[in-house]
């Protein structure tokens, strides 16, 4: 039994520059999948390759066992919601949404029915005769979404769908997207550089860097068990301490920190990954340092403590326990919570 | 580079061929030895010599330079002030349309209007009336270019200057002017070339004793086919090309239209 969508050994170069490097990925039906990574990591190229807007140099893409690459872009059961929305300014909202159905040559009644229905779903039926320039940002985004899903694609691709919206509308739209995905029963593949967005919305995330998938996992897995230092750094707040493994401890800047069992050989270079919320303050600890500053975030406060490492250590702390700036803090944690990653 | 174009190569290179074929013929014939207009007899540069020793052409050239320089100066001052005024002090679509109209107004209508004005004022036609007339449409082009540039510049720069205690005029000279300098240079060069080549308005508003170069060319072209014209065309092409290339460095063509 093969996956709903399988990407095998995909490669794409722009001249000397590698955009996608021998990439393989499997995505399940009805999954809300996020391609996450910094800009230039190849995630958008991959998305465009799925839509057929970009040719590939090598590899295969199969959708339900059907070769997708052999289909021209306008025949693929894959629709894309563009980052700029790409609403046709000379057409009305209705005409924009109906555009794709008309290209299929469907009967007029069916077009009208499906278009109206999807406009109702995104609550834009009243605006159907407006021109896109008369809509707000959130409304435009919903038209773009309606235009893509009205085609009932097997896969809906979303290119940074929320980046142009302000924060409040964005969180509303996140909910909306999830609801829609659930209702429509379509596989969503979302491209974003915003790890918070990916974590909050996706079932699974593929984190990409320099044309390669670094880790594919659920948001929780990725947070808890980053596979590499890059993942650990990209996902969430983290303390990354570079040092060397000895027989029983981890040496960082001349200080010895306790570690749990590790497969990494003694004497090798490694990174100790410590989430700020895993560290506790006490009267004694593994290391001590002076509190430099504290940033208040509502529910919690992030402390910055100078322990003599090459970076300040971040510690999450509840509001009523925040020490005065300048006091010496003692830090401790459960060594089993900390992850040790090879630093190669 | 060309492979991506496919069949579009045909119109692109076709259009260029269409645009340059007559010019190539003129340049070629400017080195013709005899004055037979359509027959090549041998290489010679004599027509260039005759050209620069022709008093009509030299006078015409001098008059044209005077007009182009003076009209450009007036146009840059008026056009820049107007562009700044429209961008910063009085945003009005109607005023803006009026300010830009001379640039696209039919030259013949403009020319006869000006002729009518000058005659009714009993104003003797001469280089000054051509300068006044040329400055009119040149200023519109300067306004358009400077206005475009001001669109790209944050008006908060001037507000910051005002906030720091500068007067409006002071802010104009210390902040606005330096930031629109490329547009000013491009506008000035465009004005200069437009005036250099302008025929219809000059034809109507010029006095009898001060023909500009295009007017001299007009009478030459009408009086038959002289190889001096070919030599002149070659020189005019080189000069214009030079000016345009300099202007290009200051402002890309695409921003102008």
């Amino acid at each position: 039994m093969s996956a709903f969508l399988s990407i095998e050994n995909l490669s794409k170069n722009y001249g000397q520059q590698i955009a996608i490097k021998n990439l393989s990925l499997e995505i399940a039906e009805n999954e809300f999948f996020a391609l996450l990574g910094p800009s230039g990591c190849g995630k958008t190229t991959l998305l465009r390759a799925l839509a057929g807007l970009e040719s590939v140099d090598a590899g295969e893409i199969r959708l339900q066992n059907q070769d997708l690459l052999s289909l021209p872009a306008n025949k693929r059961p894959v629709n894309l919601m563009f980052q700029s929305y790409a609403l046709f300014p000379h057409l009305t909202v209705y005409e924009n949404v109906a555009y794709g159905l008309r290209r299929e040559g469907l009967p007029k009644d069916e077009i009208a029915e499906r278009t109206s229905k999807v406009l109702r779903t995104v609550s834009l039926l009243d605006q159907k005769n407006r021109s896109p320039s008369q809509l707000s940002g959130g409304q435009k985004q919903r038209v773009a979404l309606a235009r893509a899903i009205v085609k009932r694609p097997k896969i809906l691709l979303l290119d940074e769908p929320l980046s142009a919206l302000d924060k409040k509308v964005r969180s509303e739209m996140q909910l909306e997207l999830k609801r829609l995905q659930h209702e429509a029963g379509i596989t969503f593949i979302l491209v974003t550089h915003d790890q918070e967005e990916a974590m909050s919305i996706a079932d699974r995330i593929a984190l990409m860097d320099q044309g390669e998938v670094i880790q594919v996992a659920t948001p929780v897995e990725m947070y808890r068990a980053p596979k590499t230092k890059f993942v650990a750094d990209f996902i969430g707040e983290n303390n990354l301490l570079t040092g060397q493994i000895t027989t029983s401890s981890f040496m960082v800047a001349g200080k010895s920190l306790p570690i749990a069992n590790t497969q990494l050989p003694s004497g090798s270079n490694a990174v100790l990954v410590l989430r700020p919320e895993q560290i506790t303050l006490g009267v004694s600890g593994f290391v001590a340092g002076k509190l430099i500053s504290s940033n208040f975030y509502g529910g919690s406060t992030l402390l910055f403590i100078d322990c003599g490492f090459d970076q300040l250590i971040k510690v999450t702390c509840v509001l009523d326990q925040v020490p005065v700036v300048g006091t010496t803090c003692h830090l401790s944690w459960n060594p089993a919570d900390a992850t040790l990653l090879s630093d190669g | 580079m060309g492979s991506k174009l496919g069949w579009l190569k045909l119109p692109l290179y076709g259009a260029l061929l269409f645009l340059y074929l007559p010019i190539a013929v003129l340049i070629f014939m400017s080195f013709n030895e005899s004055d037979a207009p359509f027959t090549w007899t041998g290489f010679s540069t004599r027509w260039y010599g005759e050209l620069i020793s022709s008093p009509e052409i030299l006078t015409g050239f001098r008059n044209t330079l005077i007009v182009a320089i003076a009209a450009t100066i007036i146009a840059v001052v008026l056009g820049t002030l107007l562009a700044v005024g429209l961008a910063r002090y009085q945003r009005s679509a109607a005023l803006e349309a009026i300010a830009l109209t001379p640039a696209i107004f039919p030259d013949l209508a403009l020319a006869i209007g000006l002729l009518t004005l000058f005659t009714n004022l009993n104003y003797a036609l001469g280089l000054d009336s051509v300068i006044i007339s040329h400055a009119l449409f040149c200023a519109a082009f300067v306004t358009a270019i400077v206005r475009g540039r001001l669109h790209q510049i944050d008006s908060s720069l001037e507000q910051a200057a005002a906030d720091l205690g500068d007067t409006a005029v002071g802010a104009f000279f210390r902040i606005t002017l330096p930031s629109i300098k490329p547009a000013l240079i491009a506008g000035a060069l465009l004005s200069f070339t437009l005036s250099l080549d302008e025929f219809v308005i000059a034809f109507f508003t010029n006095g009898p004793s001060t023909p500009t170069l295009p007017i001299v060319i007009y009478s030459m072209v009408r009086f038959g086919v002289s190889p001096e014209i070919n030599a002149l065309a070659t020189l005019v092409l080189l000069t214009s090309a030079l000016i345009i290339i300099i202007a290009q460095r200051n402002l890309k063509v695409k921003d102008q239209i």
Binding site: - | A36, N122, S219, F223
Partner: protein
């Protein structure tokens, strides 16, 4: 001729712009000229057809009289007329125009009556040329050159078909179709048809002009172009075989190709004169008269004959130049008496708009 006091809208302009009212200039006769005026203090602007005068004339005149001269060119009578009649001071002191245009200018009171005592060389004027219909007695104009209009053709390319009639030009054999040009200026545009139909070249009769129009429209189908300036070059290159031409300009073609010939069609033709006038608005009238006198100098005027290849109504100049030229350019030998047999062109007054309209109809059809 009825005198029309021209009203300008200058007062309207002044009112609009400055809230002032302006007075129009007076039409009173000019004050007497000073024969001892210092000409070096005066400057002259002379408007003349391009390539119709010695190129160094300005320099030579300045050398002799100390007057700075600016020569300005016009391509057609109409061009300089527009400037002279626009109202106000055109800046032109001396203008070269065709006779009927001089008549129109005089009718508007724009011309200075010539003081012959300041033009002693005018004694060279051929007496027949004093009686030209547009200015009997040469009161306000002094003819510069004169001649007639005919057909200029390539005898080698029209062997056996040499034209003798205006009809040969207007309704040519099919093989000459598209190899013919006619003059574009209104009066000469009309001339071949007027003469072919046996009418006067100055006719103001609307029925006659209607027939002229029909004939010209028919003739248009055979034309290469209407051409006032480069017709002789078209003959030289072979682009055209037969053109309507002024006698003098045909000579430019003859100079380049001996196969080019000129004939005056048997139906007759016009007598035209290009004449020199002094503008009333001129502030340099003494210098203007001196310039006319200078032109009538034997050497200067014979230069015109030798180089421009036009006949001039100057006895001494023609006597000096003609013998050497008449062999190569037979039409230079047309005598003043023969010229006077042709019809002199006069101004048409109000009827000029009829001519304009017909010219527009013909050229736009």
């Amino acid at each position: 001729m009825r005198m029309t006091r021209k009203v300008t809208v200058s007062s309207f302009a002044a009112l609009l712009l400055f809230g002032l009212s302006a007075c129009s200039g007076s039409d009173s006769d000019s004050s007497a000229l000073d024969p001892n005026a210092d000409l070096s203090k005066q400057t002259l602007t002379v408007s003349i057809w391009a390539a119709y005068y010695p190129e160094d004339i300005a320099a030579k005149f300045e050398e002799k009289y100390g007057t700075k001269v600016t020569i300005t060119n016009h391509a057609t009578n109409e061009e300089v007329m527009a400037k002279l009649t626009a109202g106000g001071d055109s800046g032109i002191d001396v203008a070269f125009v065709s006779g009927q245009f001089a008549q129109a200018l005089a009718a508007q009171g724009l011309l200075e009556n010539l003081d012959k005592s300041l033009i002693p060389n005018s004694s060279n004027l051929i007496k027949e040329a004093e009686q030209l219909s547009y200015d009997q007695g040469a009161k306000y104009s002094l003819p510069y050159a004169w001649g007639t209009t005919g057909i200029c053709y390539r005898s080698d390319l029209m062997k056996g078909d040499e034209p003798t009639s205006w009809n040969d030009l207007l309704t040519p054999k099919p093989k000459y179709k598209g190899k013919i040009t006619m003059l574009a200026t209104e009066r000469w545009l009309m001339l071949p048809a007027q003469k072919a139909l046996g009418y006067s070249a100055n006719t103001q009769d609307e029925t006659e002009m209607g027939k002229v129009k029909d004939l010209l429209i028919k003739a248009k189908a055979n034309l290469l172009a209407y051409d006032d300036t480069t017709f002789y070059e078209r003959l030289v290159s072979g682009e055209a075989v037969m053109v309507e031409a002024w006698d003098g300009w045909c000579n430019y073609g003859i100079a380049k190709n001996k196969n080019i010939k000129f004939i005056v069609p048997k139906e007759g033709s016009d007598l035209w004169a290009d004449t020199m006038v002094v503008l009333k608005t001129s502030k340099n009238k003494e210098a203007a008269h001196a310039f006319l006198n200078y032109i009538y100098d034997v050497d200067v005027h014979s230069w015109v004959v030798d180089n421009i290849l036009y006949k001039v109504p100057n006895k001494a100049a023609m006597a000096k130049s003609l013998p050497a030229l008449v062999g190569d350019f037979p039409n230079m030998g047309i005598s003043p008496a023969e010229l006077l047999q042709q019809e002199g062109l006069v101004d048409l007054g109000k009827a000029s708009s009829l001519y304009t309209r017909i010219a527009t109809e013909v050229t736009s059809k």
